[in-house]
């Protein structure tokens, strides 16, 4: 078990800067997930930690050691790849023991360690098979096993489950979580699947263009996104974002939608009394109000509430336990998630009111949360 510290990391491929000035601390025994869209530099960062890429500037510490210049094998890491990367001509046992054989362990120790790991991952029956004769899930287990035998402090996973089908992915996800609880190793896990990130992580680092946007617990990421990118990227279906303006009336902050300007003069906008501001708002500030689909309450009739809008239902998508209905609010696309018992008639108009304690407001220009 070791912590991982990345200090001021810079990496570029020729002229393209991929990582710039990146800082990241991963505590001992923590499960950290790197989440971000394709091409944002997640694998690159992982490869830097593993020592498979030569960095341009900065330092990497694993445990107490500065491993910036160390060879991959000397860093105390094990790595699991998206394509499994099993040695095709070796059977499972040889695959597992390759690293140990390179390191020159005695036959007896190797046999014992392989047996131990095979037991943990329940692949004892497969030891004599070649990778080609394994299913995707079994291959992935062997790949994890290959990292496990080496008795390292830190595990690096590069999208290890993304080649598997949905059901298997869920199963292995839970297995991984159990494994982490059992071993207590530090794990850094790359994915672009937000469900994986939210379910597995102690903390998630959301990345975009090589910059960590937010480093927080899954709860924090989901409920208090630091900026518009994180809000939009995490959550499925994604957060509703409505453009509007802030203003003040009788010491009360109000939000008015842009497309409301032409509506009747009586309408003042929705009250932000219950919204927990994290930065000082300004009168006339252009903002986006973000509300997750499940934090919208639908009612049949106008409830006279100050924070409700007319919601025009247009399509209903049953998801099993709940239902997502797609429609529009004042001409803007809008989606709401409600329990499956809710019965809809198509093309009806409902009242949508927001739970503002769970909303997010972002400045339009900077995209930052206020």
């Amino acid at each position: 078990m070791s912590s991982v510290d990345i200090v001021d990391l810079h990496l570029s491929f020729g002229a393209t800067k991929v990582l710039e000035n990146l800082h990241l601390n991963v505590a001992e025994g923590e499960f950290l997930v790197l989440l971000g869209p394709s091409g944002c530099g997640k694998s690159t960062l992982l490869n830097c930690i593993a020592g498979l890429l030569d960095i341009n500037d900065g330092q990497i510490f694993i445990g107490e050691h500065n491993v910036t210049w160390a060879e991959p094998k000397d860093r105390g890491i094990g790595m699991v790849f998206q394509s499994y990367a099993l040695y095709p001509q070796m059977n499972v046992e040889k695959n597992l023991s390759f690293g140990l054989r390179v390191a020159g362990f005695s036959k007896a120790i190797i046999r014992q360690k392989v047996a131990e790991v095979a037991h943990i991952l329940q692949i004892e029956d497969l030891l004599k098979r070649k990778p080609a004769a394994l299913s995707g899930g079994q291959r992935q287990r062997v790949a994890i096993g290959r990292a496990l035998v080496r008795d390292v402090g830190v595990f690096l996973f590069d999208e290890p489950l993304s080649n598997l089908d949905a059901k298997l992915r869920t199963d292995l996800r839970i297995e991984l979580k159990r494994l982490h609880r059992k071993l207590g190793n530090t794990m850094i896990y790359v994915t672009h699947d937000q469900m994986e990130a939210l379910t597995l992580a102690d903390r998630i680092a959301v990345m975009k263009n090589g910059v960590i946007q937010q480093l927080d617990t899954p709860n924090g990421i989901y409920h208090r996104p630091k900026n518009r990118f994180v809000a939009d990227f995490v959550g499925s279906p994604s957060m509703n974002l409505i453009q509007g303006t802030l203003f003040k009336q009788d010491e009360e902050w109000l939000f008015r939608m842009h497309s409301e300007a032409t509506q009747d003069e009586q309408w003042v906008g929705i009250s932000l009394t219950h919204y927990p501001f994290t930065a000082a708002p300004a009168v006339g500030q252009k903002v986006e109000l973000g509300i997750r689909p499940e934090h919208v309450i639908l009612t049949e009739k106008a409830s006279n509430s100050v924070s409700s809008y007319l919601f025009l239902v247009d399509l209903v998508e049953p998801m099993g336990p709940d239902v997502v209905c797609w429609g529009s609010v004042a001409g803007e696309p809008f989606k709401v998630r409600v329990s499956a018992d809710f019965v809809f008639k198509p093309d009806t108009t409902l009242m949508a009111s927001f739970d503002l304690t769970r909303a997010s407001i972002f400045d339009i220009e900077t995209g930052g949360r206020i």
Binding site: N47, K73, M79, F81, S83, A85, Q89, F98, G99, A103
Partner: protein
Amino acid sequence: MRGVTPTTAIGPRGSKPKRILSTRNIVVYGVLTVAAVYWVIPLYVMIVTSLKGLPEIRMGNIFAPPLQITFEPWVKAWDSACTGLSCEGLKVGFWNSVKILIPSTFISIAIASVNGYALSFWKFKGSEVFFTLLLLGAFIPYQVIIYPLVILLRELGLFASLGGIVLIHTVFGMPILTLLFRNYFASVPMELFKAARVDGAGFWRIFLQILLPMSLPIFVVALILQITGIWNDFFFGVIYAGTLNFPMTVQLNNIVNTTQGVKEYNVNMAATLLTGLLPLVVYFISGKLFVRGIAAGAVKG
């Protein structure tokens, strides 16, 4: 319900019948037959001629099968046909060719495979430039560098020696073989290489223990290319090998083009067939592997 109503029972069912005498089949098989006949007839003529005695050949019917089969010409071609002044047959050339072939093939493939491996996995500064230069080497016409190479070998003290001709074959095989190996290794997933690095394997261990075992098809391709190329070579042999090391092809030429006495067509045919035997055998044995290796980019694992 289905099968009860007559309309569904009558309609087409099962695999669609294929017409055997379609225009397409006629054209395809026609062309293939003509091509096959075109290549096989000369071979047939050579074989029957090599099995006839000289009097029978003088009767002039080259397509007729031998009236009396004799292996005399084959024995003579191998053992006692005259090349210039010495009359020891092709066997000297055969062993010379073997002596040239084995080290040239082995050395060139060994170097080229390591080259290709380094160029696709251990990219160094300028490795792309290096590769481009090497490829350029494949396009330089031989004629331009024949004489400079003669001088170079002379300076190295290798001209007209076994070492010299082996060096020449190794160097000339390098561009195409390196390209072959590099492209093959480029299709091996980078993650496999990274996994091996994390497991602590170095340059040679990754090559020998991980890549070699999974690269058999491409080695077979390289082997076939080199064996047939070097065995069939006449040009380099006659220039660089020196009289003592003349390969089989050169001696064949000397036998066939001997100006003294009568033309022994049967011996010439037998000698030619003997010389071409090795490449022929190699193709027959490894044809399947060869095709598999050429297509190997697509199949992995």
